[in-house]
């Protein structure tokens, strides 16, 4: 088994740095107004900006949990999850860049969550593909 497969294949290329010990989300930043966007955007959409040019940037790994939910039903295709379905947490996380990002949480228990807590980006398995490869996505991990 080569290293790449053992570490998993991203569900989508270009969303987060991988493989990496400290994965980061890949976004864009407006060169004029400094606004951040995720995922990567083609342009800045601030009507006050005239240049509109954006550059690719890596976003902070740590943020604060702004809100959360627990997904209790298997969502429709093309969603990815292991069978049998286990409910999973989804977080809305505020990053220091002034952007709020949604992503899966590593926990499946709401009792471990509270609004305002620190969370850190990680990458974990989401399911296996038809060839038995481990598919991974970005998730936020609550910090104690």
């Amino acid at each position: 088994m080569n290293a790449r497969i053992s570490k998993g294949v991203p569900v989508v290329e270009g969303l987060f740095t991988w493989p990496s010990d400290k994965p980061q989300l890949i976004g864009t930043k407006c060169l004029s107004c400094g606004s951040y966007f995720f995922p990567k955007t083609l342009s800045c959409n601030n009507p006050d900006c005239e240049e509109k040019k954006v550059e690719e940037v890596l976003l902070s790994r740590r943020g604060k949990l702004y809100s959360y939910t627990m997904q209790h039903y298997p969502p429709p295709p093309p969603s990815k999850f292991s069978e049998p379905f286990v409910p999973y947490g989804i977080g809305l996380v505020e990053l220091p860049e002034g952007i709020r990002v949604i992503g899966r949480l590593t926990t499946t228990h709401t009792s471990e969550l509270r609004i305002g807590m620190d969370v850190e980006l990680t990458v974990e398995k989401i399911c296996e593909d038809d060839q038995g490869n481990e598919l991974v996505t970005y998730k936020f991990k609550p910090l104690k």
Binding site: G27, M70, Q71, P75, P77, S79, R100, R104
Partner: protein
């Protein structure tokens, strides 16, 4: 700009009608609206149509053309408009402008939709990194109620809103919906039944989010002169606006993965913007609105939105619900129709379904769910792509 009135409205009941085409449903709603308006099909000078997402419109979004080719090939201009689930509001706005600007004296706005069962499915193909509709499924797995759940959970933190407050909204909706002959779900629910229904996206239960349905609604608009030929008590369009969202909005809107949050934009700007515009056009303030029909995709919207619209103070909705003040007999009746919770969402038809209810209420034709002597009603719909529509009607 000329004064515009509602001449007539017509609806097909909401539900699942497997043996009926959306074209037939639209035609039935249209015939009711034409009769209600005391006009003939040939009197219609313009149609604003919500392009259906799933069926009908000749599979090309051509809903107005399909209707005209079926019932009255009169050669008139039509706009088939897309605005996600706010398309009904956009179609209304197009028809309103056609009359107000003098293009014609009588215009029609229409919406009809037949929905697939279950969660609204992903129909796209593009899988590039900027296609958030693809990414939200494949990288996270979040359906629409997940987005409302974030808002609901945050509201609990900010205002102390409880599971009971949310459940009471559903109980209220089903109580009034049970009295509406056009509603799909006409069963009264208890607080326990709502709280014991399956959890979908914590903290939202199954009976606290809307289902999807088939439905059709049509509104006939005309000049004040045309209205006065037919009635001594016209319903006036005091304001109409179909607008979009503003940069910096702090909501993470469906199907985005993030929000570039700035304090300069209102939360849920695509619905706040058209509501504020309607206040301005109508010269009517938020406290002068007698009742509201709004997109209750979940119970959260019904609590939060009247606060965003300036009708209530932030957090005040919980008190209103605790004191039954949003029922048809309350200080600020919300969704006297029974709302999306009782009807299910027939996406592109909803903006017009809301206008039908405003008209019936303002005319005093709402039967046992009648709001007491209303003078001014507001409807608000939210659509994909940062679309929003609002209408203020008055008598």
């Amino acid at each position: 700009m000329r004064e515009v009135c509602v001449l007539g409205v017509g609806m097909h009941p909401w539900g699942k009608f497997d043996d009926k085409s959306v074209k037939q449903m639209v035609l039935e709603a249209g015939n009711r609206a034409i009769e209600d308006a005391s006009v003939k099909w040939r009197d219609i000078g313009f149609i604003g149509a919500a392009s259906p997402l799933f069926e009908g419109g000749m599979d090309y979004g051509l809903a107005a053309n399909e209707l005209l080719l079926a019932v009255s090939a009169s050669g008139i201009p039509v706009y088939n408009v897309s605005a996600g689930c706010a398309a009904g509001g956009a179609a209304f706005d197009a028809a309103y402008r056609a009359v107000a600007d003098g293009m014609c004296d009588i215009a029609l706005a229409m919406g009809g939709e037949k929905m697939p069962k279950g969660f609204i499915p992903y129909r796209g193909t593009a899988q590039d990194i900027t296609n958030v509709e693809y990414l939200r499924w494949v990288a996270i797995g979040i359906p629409n109620p997940g987005y409302w759940a974030f808002e609901a959970r945050r509201r609990m933190e900010d205002f102390g809103t409880t599971d009971t407050h949310f459940a009471k909204v559903s109980v209220k909706a089903h109580k009034t919906g049970a009295q509406n002959p056009y509603a799909r779900y006409r069963k009264v629910l208890t607080l326990e039944e709502v709280l014991n229904s399956n959890m979908v996206d914590d903290p939202l239960h199954l009976y606290e989010i809307c289902a999807v349905s088939d439905g059709a609604a049509i509104v006939v608009l005309g000049t004040a002169e045309e209205a006065r030929k037919r009635t001594t008590k016209p319903v006036f369009v005091a304001g109409s606006a179909a607008l979009t969202g503003t940069f910096g909005d702090t909501q993470v809107r469906v199907p985005d993965l993030s929000a570039t949050a700035k304090s300069t934009a209102p939360h849920f700007s695509e619905v706040v913007n058209p509501v504020r515009k309607c206040y301005e056009i109508a010269g009517i303030g938020p406290r002068e609105i007698d009742f509201v029909e709004l997109s209750d995709n979940s119970v959260w919207q019904e609590l939060a939105w009247p606060e965003y619209f300036g009708m209530l103070e932030p957090g005040e909705s919980d008190w209103m619900v605790d004191h039954d003040e949003t029922t048809v007999d309350g200080k600020l009746p919300i969704n006297p129709s029974g709302g999306f919770l009782s009807f299910g969402e027939a996406t592109t038809a909803m903006g017009l379904f809301q206008v039908c209810e405003l008209v019936w209420q303002l005319r005093g034709q709402a039967g046992t769910r009648q709001v007491k002597n209303p003078k001014v009603g507001l409807s608000v719909s939210l659509g994909l792509g940062a679309n929003g529509g609002a209408v203020i009607l008055r008598v």
